[in-house]
């Protein structure tokens, strides 16, 4: 490797290293984090399904740094589901469901972001937890692009018929019961 090629590899790292040093010596600073939840193979999860509970914790101490609920729209179906996306593209708009968290930290902290839901009463059996971890640097907002996106696998099933604790009687040696459910991507 030539001296020139080594420098080409090192130089792009310098702004990152300086950023870390600046943050490390800073006083407590409020840092914004935009969190979104997205269904695998579908759109974002929002108010229509009762929202998603978000808890942001310090990974080391477990202290809750921020908590709230993802609310908003599911996003534009054509942009999310039908349009090819290349690196750097955003697939959200101003109304796309999100939780704008603010954490108050004085040094870089590894945080755990936990998402639980959907919270709507019809979707209790479909509720899941998804989490991720990442470093947060004081004053360096994590609001770029689509924000921090947590992917939810699974179908939401609203099992509408039979009703809860249904009871039927045998007639002629059998009982017939219709079953009906709405099944959608979370």
């Amino acid at each position: 490797m030539t001296e020139g090629s080594i420098m080409r590899k090192i130089v792009p790292l310098l702004p990152v290293m300086m950023l870390f040093m600046a943050a490390h010596t800073a006083d407590a600073a409020q840092t914004k984090i935009t969190v979104r939840a997205k269904a695998v193979d579908a759109k974002f999860i929002g108010s229509k399904m009762g929202g998603i509970q978000i808890t942001i914790k310090d990974a080391e101490s477990g202290k809750v740094l921020a908590e709230g609920k993802i609310e908003g729209d599911t996003g534009d179906g054509k942009t999310i589901m039908e349009t090819p996306v290349k690196r750097g593209d955003s697939i959200v708009d101003a109304k796309t469901a999100k939780f704008d968290a603010v954490v108050d930290i004085s040094e870089p902290r590894l945080v755990t972001i936990e998402a639980a839901g959907p919270l709507g009463p019809g979707w209790k059996q479909s509720s899941e937890k998804v989490s991720t971890q990442l470093w947060v640097i004081p004053g360096k907002n994590l609001t770029g692009g689509d924000g921090i996106v947590l992917d939810f696998y699974g179908f939401a099933i609203d099992f509408t018929n039979p009703g809860d604790n249904a009871a039927v009687s045998l007639s002629g040696g059998k009982a017939e019961v219709g079953i009906k459910a709405m099944i959608a991507m979370i």
Partner: protein, 57 residues
């Protein structure tokens, strides 16, 4: 569909309208049945389960 913790029948539901799926259970013995509904898409690895109980007298 389970009766006394034993699977007694499997029923495939039909997609009758958009996201709506329907089927029919034929229950031949008295007891408390557990209906376990599951959905599975091998292309996306999405799965889901919901349960209901039915008492047959």
């Amino acid at each position: 569909m389970k009766l006394n913790d034993e699977i007694v029948d499997n029923v495939v539901m039909s997609n009758t309208n958009s996201s709506i799926y329907e089927g029919k259970l034929v229950l031949k013995k008295a007891g408390k049945y557990e209906v376990v509904l599951y959905a599975y898409d091998p292309a996306t690895n999405n799965t889901g389960v919901a349960k209901k109980s039915i008492t047959v007298k």
